[in-house]
Symmetry: C2
Subunit: 155 residues, 2 copies
């Protein structure tokens, strides 16, 4: 793992907040020259600390109205089943996030679809037919209070 000092953390905090800031703007806010910000950014990008830059798009604007959390229990805890299930969820575009959880449900998926019909299709046609899947329990997000995905790292 790469060394990260206070300046690096400040740069990361700035870019997490708004990646369209120029090196000059970032530098002004943290007391560093633009050229140094440029060099540090390159280093952080090459080291994989910055994984990528992305545009955060309003889901409603592209016709996606339903966010759901889907808990999935697998049939048997065989290595084979688990691997096939992982390949499945990674390949499904509706799945924004997939985590292996402690507790009664094996997996937790965050799913985004256009509407409730889309959620039904996703569960019944994509998830349940997979024979590693034993059962599925979904909760729909009626409202999203916060969705910024900022990491709370100390600066």
């Amino acid at each position: 793992m790469v060394e990260i000092d206070g300046f690096d953390r400040k740069i990361l905090a700035q870019l997490q907040e708004d990646a369209s800031r120029t090196n000059q703007q970032v530098g002004e806010r943290i007391g560093l020259s633009a050229s140094q910000v440029s060099r540090r950014r390159q280093r952080l990008e090459e080291a994989g600390v910055v994984r990528r830059y992305r545009a955060d798009i309003d889901p409603a604007a592209v016709g996606l109205a339903v966010v759901a959390f889907v808990g999935v229990a697998l049939n048997a805890h065989s290595r084979q089943n688990a691997r096939r299930f992982r390949d499945l969820v990674r390949s499904l575009p509706e799945v924004q996030e997939a985590h292996v959880l402690t507790g009664d449900m094996d997996y937790m998926l965050k799913v985004v679809v256009a509407d409730l019909a889309g959620l039904s299709v996703f569960i019944n046609d994509e998830l349940l037919p997979h024979d590693a899947v034993r059962n599925v329990r979904s909760s729909i997000a009626m409202e999203t209070l916060k969705d910024d995905n900022r990491l709370p790292f100390a600066i």
Copy 2:
């Protein structure tokens, strides 16, 4: 809501994937000139379709090793309590996402902290003392299979 045509969707798809692509590069991939990509981007940004640009940072690189999903039930379903709880979760930096859910738990939080001790502090010192909170049930992500937060919009 703003009109979004096929070109706009293609631009959004490109920038969601990698926001560091230049207008020229985006244009080449979708068959449009850089100047048109620039104009459409500005329109999409001003309309709020692109909400922001952000750097996606590796949590482990900044010392954040624990992701947990925390279900929260409130004491009473008073409007007052709900509002105060919303203000709380919005203000807590450890909370990446907060959703109002259907089902038995009122709220679902996605929380990122440094370690299990940090999760304990978060739950016991930040969440439970709030008198709107009745009970809390947390599941820790032992492994994250997918975490790209890409929207699956048709292009």
